[in-house]
Amino acid sequence: MSAKAEIEIIERYCKGCAICAEFCPTKVLEMDAFVVKVANADACIACNQCELRCPDFAIKVHKL
């Protein structure tokens, strides 16, 4: 599988709430202490749910 989007995380804004990681349908994201990281980039289906629900403007979905 190849990634349908590139995920950008703005660490300075991320407050580690885990909403994005929990509701990502293909488990692309994982929590790493108090910020989120991309753990499984290839699985991204570019559904945009992580970006829509991030309260902190900290995650951007760049469609490929």
Binding site: Y13, A18, L52, R53, C54, P55, D56, F57, K60, V61
Partner: protein, 270 residues
């Protein structure tokens, strides 16, 4: 290219002040998308609020903004709209601001059917001041002022708005992010008083006291309790127990206040 939210935000204002997982940020993003959909511009749009965590929202927005006194947002917004009917007027605020101290202003803005869009962020609590109960705190829930459980029944904000005369009333939750901008955009396009209630979460003062283990738990409850109005019509009262209806709950065309007032001016001038 990812969605450009930051063009709508005052430079240097992020990260915002809201706690980790606070739903207010999700609502602000939905509002930005709705304003983009409707083509609202910085100089023809006023965003007005009272006091509270939710009411800090306009401070981030790079538009004409007015951060007023607790509960008075609807009154100030009415003044803006009356003075400049060509402005798009949006009100943002919490359940405490809009239904407790500001309940009176809220119902009368609804009654007048003045053309504004009121986005009410209902997190069931006074978040900013440490978690006192609001008129929207569920019966039985714990707040700093109801440590043994809240005995009061709640205000159903949407029903209150419909009863008071608002002509577009809708509800969604912070979990249902795409519905936030769709409903707010419909509200902006509607001529008259629109109320969009977004049920969101305050993990810091409500979640912890009420035994939610995490922000994610609170989001799951929003996900599971929401029932779209169309689906609800096929469900029994028993199945609907504890659920909240989402979508457009009420819509009607009625004379708008500024237009009516213009006629008063014309009559007075003979």
């Amino acid at each position: 290219m990812a969605y450009d939210y930051e063009k709508s935000i005052r430079p240097g204002k992020l990260p915002h002040i809201w706690c980790p997982g606070c739903g207010h940020g999700i609502v602000m993003k939905g509002l930005i998308r709705a304003m983009d959909t409707c083509g609202l511009e910085k100089n023809n749009t006023a965003i007005v609020s009272g006091i509270g965590c939710a009411s800090r929202l306009p401070g981030y927005m790079d538009f004409c903004t007015l951060h007023t006194a607790h509960g008075r947002a609807a009154a100030f917004a009415t003044g803006v709209k009356m003075a400049k009917p060509e402005m798009n007027v949006i009100v943002c605020g919490g359940d405490g601001d809009g239904t407790a101290i500001g309940g009176n202003h809220f119902i009368h803005a609804c009654r007048r059917n003045i053309d504004m869009t009121y986005v009410l962020l209902n997190n069931h609590i006074y978040g900013m001041t440490g978690g006192q109960f609001s008129p929207c705190t569920p019966t039985g829930a714990k707040a700093s002022t109801t440590p043994y459980g809240n005995p009061d029944p709640i205000f159903d904000i949407s029903k209150l708005a419909i009863g008071a005369g608002a002509t577009f009333v809708a509800r969604t939750t912070a979990f249902h992010a795409t519905q936030i901008d769709k409903l707010i955009a419909e509200g902006i396009k509607h001529k008259g008083m629109s109320v969009i209630e977004v049920v969101d979460d305050c993990p810091t003062t409500y979640g912890r006291r009420n035994k939610f283990r995490s922000v994610v738990d609170m989001m799951k409850v929003l996900k599971d309790t929401a029932v779209p109005v169309a689906a609800a019509s096929k469900m029994t009262a028993e199945q609907l127990e504890g659920k909240i209806l989402t979508g457009v709950l009420y819509q009607e065309d009625k004379p708008e206040y500024c237009a009516q007032y213009k006629q008063v001016i014309a009559r007075a001038q003979g």
